[in-house]
Symmetry: C2
């Protein structure tokens, strides 16, 4: 198994565990908070927040400076999983080996848990993220853009409503929105909070965009080749839902070749972004390529 | 019928009509944008954004300065209606005399249309609201807090999961969260954007909090006394859902007395907040008390 920046993951895990959801008067909504925490603390590699923290390190900053933003990204990712799993969407009963949120808490509570995680993500970053106010504003604006019509939710719409627009290009656009933009934002927002000039950030952006592509190709391959146990959900669910994927579009062998080329490209962009090396970002890139779940 | 600041409503209506949802590459998500606009442009008094604009006027400012924030509040209100109407929630088929979003577009698209409206609300205010960056940050943080666990979504959770915590106090807490906090935020965020000091804003806050209470009492009364045609949805739906309301808790006559007292209190607070008068805020307060739908 490829090395992974476990210290950053541990930091994310510990911070999520103690994160206060809602303000002091949260007692009435204890059942809602329980559902939010159930999904939020289901484990996983925490790729997006770890990516954000690793980007801070690659810029020579203390990763703790961007913790509120990193945690917010994980809250948003969790919200998207809860809504994606709903009966009206992908209708998944299992996620990371456990009953999905709506199975455990009911569909009404699951919808609201997703809604609330999204709200608390913004609340967290807006109240706790340090930095120049104008830079924080720009970062949160990017986060909102990356998760709206022209980002994550728009991509999910394409996925459920159209199964993907025509052709390989349509498939790429779907994934660029559905999973790509939040992965890019995990890097991009750290650049914005750091106040780096646009030219200096271009190689990082190219790296992040390629990482988003790589993530999805591997995801599609794993849906075909992974085991239920490793995936924590039934293998083959894309096919069951009639979804177009990199595998259905190109075949397994060609998809593997695309993943190899994408990994190579991501590492090239990263080398250009951080000529002196960025060990954690390199590890994340390799992990995304070689992961088995 | 009480006078209403129709010029402010017309401004909101015109701006919503031309509002661009999503970035330039929205073509793939055209069907999603259609569902968002279907619910967003269903008419109504636009109480929350009009309240925000009227607050700006009461502070002696040009209401156009807070338009992005005002529109964002209406996007959020629309998102909450779409999700509240879902089969897993209140299961309403009609809203403002038209099929609800999930009836018109399917449950999956309706969930995503709500999600996307919330994202675009933040994107709008974060990219277009003028003001000191620190003041805008504080206002958007308040908006996120008002719509999360300790606000709108927490209140909706209480409504669907518990039908309201015990006693009249529990009912008040539910409504303070579910409808109150977004109404308060419609005033509060304008105060924050305006950079007013906290002591100067206290009477406005007291006014807004009372207005939220008044709004809900009248809502509960109308659910019993209104006609289907005026309400645009079946009368008596609270009772059908077994919900506790001001009417079920206190009876119709006592609820009417509470509304009268709340209206009086709101006007008193407003007189303290704006000793020289604030015609539009006065009109909104009277309208909320005397409305028939």
């Amino acid at each position: 198994m490829t090395k992974y920046p476990e210290d950053l993951r541990d930091l994310v895990e510990a911070e999520l565990e103690t994160l206060e959801l809602g303000e002091n008067d949260g007692r009435d909504a204890a059942g809602l908070i329980e559902a939010m925490r159930y999904s939020l603390l289901a484990g996983g590699k925490r790729v997006r927040p770890v990516l954000a923290l690793a980007t801070a390190r690659a810029l020579g900053r203390d990763e703790r400076e961007v913790l509120p933003f990193a945690l917010a990204v994980e809250l948003i990712h969790t919200y998207s999983l809860i809504h994606d799993d709903l009966p009206a969407m992908d209708d998944d009963d299992l996620r990371r080996g456990r009953p999905t949120c709506h199975v455990a808490f009911g569909e009404d509570v699951a919808i609201l848990a997703g809604d609330a995680l999204y709200a608390e993500a913004f609340h967290l970053v807006l109240t706790r993220q340090a930095g120049e106010p104008a830079a924080v504003l720009a970062a949160v604006a990017e986060l909102a853009g990356a998760t709206g019509v022209s980002g994550m939710v728009g991509g999910q719409y394409l996925d459920v409503a159209t199964k993907a627009p025509e052709g390989a290009d349509g498939l790429r656009r779907l994934h660029a929105l559905k999973t790509g933009r939040l992965i890019v934002a995990s890097v991009e927002c750290v650049l914005l909070i750091s106040g780096m000039s646009e030219p200096a950030t271009m190689p990082f952006r190219a790296f992040a965009a390629e990482l988003g592509v790589l993530f999805q190709i591997v995801d599609d391959i794993l849906d075909v080749t992974g085991t239920d146990a490793a995936l924590g959900k039934p293998q083959g669910s894309d096919e069951r839902l009639g979804k177009r994927t990199y595998v259905s579009e190109f075949g397994l062998e060609q998809a593997r070749e695309l993943a190899r080329a994408s990994h190579h490209q991501a590492r090239e962009h990263l080398a250009a972004a951080a000529p002196a090396g960025a060990p954690e970002l390199e590890q994340i890139t390799d992990f995304i390529y070689t992961r088995t779940s």
